[in-house]
């Protein structure tokens, strides 16, 4: 089906570019075979995006997208800003999924011996029967089912390690047959880990105390009284710690 057309860029580059057929929510469009992302292809086809578009760099999870091919019904998953369109791709975005997050006070996350805080917040987590759809869905290639298992066991440290690259796109929740929300479960686990299990940073706590006691105020007053030239000289002469 690919047809050829001439794409001229103000006389700078002229080349023959093949056109691809893609189907946006079932509707056929033609886009150049030039490495366009799904996002760029949508815009090429005239869509001015409101939902389903964010950082455009693969960080924010706003552009969760489901696709397959006219010749292959297997459902695939990706971020629209990071996935290149291919011939006969059938595309739909999932800009929102109604997952009901459990609300809590971060103070309530304080770990307690013999209590699984994550199972307390998300009791239905125990109904996971290991179909692994969540893992197959994850556009970040995370081992989602594994960190759900870690959450069931109350191993917060493992949840933190395995889920750290999660963008909260929500695709795992969209595909879970048990209606679980792996991304929200892991978020609570990471917050618990950060607030309570990570070793405390004594030098940060000491510095906060020193500042609150006003230990640096006198030095600062001295700097404020300096002339511009004195300040420049101080800056030029400051000792530079070697980088790591």
């Amino acid at each position: 089906m690919a047809q050829e057309t001439r794409v001229a860029e103000e006389g700078k580059v002229e080349e023959k570019v093949k056109m691809l057929d893609i189907y946006i929510m079932g509707k056929r469009y033609k886009v150049p075979d030039a490495g366009l992302t799904i996002q760029a292809a949508l815009e090429y086809c005239g869509y001015n995006l409101i939902r389903g578009c964010g950082c455009r760099e693969g960080f924010c999870g706003a552009c969760a997208t489901i696709y397959n091919f006219t010749y292959d019904p297997t459902i695939k998953y990706g971020l629209a800003c990071q996935t290149v369109v291919e011939q006969n791709m059938v595309i739909t975005q999932i800009p929102f999924f109604p997952a009901a997050e459990s609300l809590y006070n971060v103070g309530d996350l304080q770990p307690k011996e013999g209590v699984n805080k994550l199972a307390e917040l998300y009791p239905d987590i125990l109904t996971c029967f290991g179909c692994n759809n969540c893992t197959k869905t994850c556009p970040q290639n995370l081992e989602v089912m594994e960190f759900v298992s870690d959450a069931i066991r109350g191993d917060y440290e493992k949840v933190y390690e395995k889920s750290f690259d999660c963008l909260l796109c929500g695709l795992c929740a969209a595909r879970c047959p048990q209606g679980l929300q792996p991304y929200n479960i892991a978020l609570a686990g990471r917050r618990l880990r950060g607030a309570y299990l990570a070793p405390k940073s004594q030098h940060n706590l000491d510095r906060v105390k020193e500042i609150e006691e006003g230990n640096f105020d006198a030095d600062m007053e001295k700097l404020k009284k300096m002339s511009a030239d004195e300040l420049r000289e101080l800056y030029a002469k400051r000792e530079i710690e070697p980088a790591l």
Binding site: E9, V13, A62, F164, I211, K224
Partner: protein, 555 residues
Amino acid sequence: MPYPPYMEESIRKLEASRQRRMKEEIPLISSDERDMIVRKYHPDYRETGKRKLLLGPNKDETMPEELANQLEGNSRVDPDKVDLSKIDYDVDVLIIGSGGAGLSAALLAQENGARVLIATKLRLGDSNTIGAEGGTQAADRPNDSPVLHYLDTMGGGHFENVPELVWAMARDAPMAIKWLEDLGVNWDKETDGSMRELELAGECRRRVHSCKDYTGLEVMRVLRDEVRCRDNIDYIEFEPAIELIMDDEGQVAGAILVNLETNKLSPVRAKAVIVATGGLGRLHTQGFPTTNHYGATADGLAMAYRVGCSLIYGDSIQYHPTGAVYPLQLVGILITENVRALGGQIINIDGEQVACNLEPRDILASFEIRECTERHKGITTSAGNVGVWEDIPLIDMLHGEGTIARRLPSLVHKFRRFNIDLIHEPVLVYPTLHYQNGGVRMDANSATEVPGLWAPGEVGGGVHGQNRLGGNATLDIYVFGRRAGREAAQYAKEVKLGKLNLDHVRQWQKELEQLDIAKERPFSPMLLPNYARQPSDYLADLYTEKLQPGLVKLA
């Protein structure tokens, strides 16, 4: 073959000159030459693409044309058609925008007793903060001090920073780190709990705190979750503010929101308003690509300017010399400066060095622009972007095989996704629009010159002077977001609002008419960039491909 055939010839030239270039040392240019090249080619100094403002608090000052158009834009609101006696939301503190500054402000305002409403253009938390990879400065190691942090920041900003803002930021930094940790942010640490901190250009101590290379994402995940979990904070997504509301005492007293999907307007009455809309990357000033989020369209600058806030260093924009140009999916993203520090050279279409790879950011950006414009020695992609090569494989030749994989893993991974192997192939780069150094003039609590309005984060200006150091952007948003939230909540307890009005909009439109520029100016705020291809292109497809009407969308 990941790079298209039309680039092959140039890549072969680059490979052919590598042996020679390994030994070729181009000296740093003298300070006189620096002056000359920056003045001639750096976008901040270029007179083209800029013009004087014709009205408003910064009248007669020169701004990039795209920003000037937004500042002088037409209001999207017809004051005669909005009934301010029918208010949809009545709150203590309205926060416009939901990045790091907006959400920090929301949490502190709530803690200080305010009922808070967050109005945000996209999803809650969608922002530039989420893409911040590097980290956050805070002088909390024993050999460091907030005073040294102050000195570094002043020097980096060429001593043009507003001192009281810099001191506020340096002083509050360790507290901001602790606050975020208490909320559940996982900072990178050693096993004994000490923070793993890095040093970026212009900093005399290692003080940049990170969360792997997802620092902004990790913080935003936590802030967003915390906002959702708290009582007395409401948020409305896909509903940006398009105009501020004033009262008859001259105080900011709310805003008009618009539902992006239904176009319904909603007036909000608020005792205090915090505009935290971030920067302007998506204006693409002077035609540059950007590292910025889809929503970074200077909305807050336009709205604040119209109620009488002045801008400080409004024309000062940070361009990073090595933004990716190819592939299309990665256009504008940063190639870390470490590549150059390791010996990565900047090469033109003929395989020749453009400048010494260790020139400062603004100098190298200027050289690249000269090479691609005046000298026509850039490489143009099929999407119409132009750039020069950054020779990454050279690093392994200089420092031994395996260096690239070891030192630049996330970069290698990012490009591998698109079948580009940076261990063996160069990367195409060009300056990319990264940050707005200036913004709305504010005090140490982010209060603007107009009562009832605060402007924390990238939308506010002065703390960075005309050049921002790495790790100070994410710090800025937490520090000034928290200060703004706290003060706005206190203010809301005391202020008495008068009768709401949009007289400033009427006055603004009258001035535009008097200057006879209303028709030439766009509507502002812009809200979203328009990247959709124009319908005429589709007509062209129809003719060239002889498709039947109906096979492609026409509008």
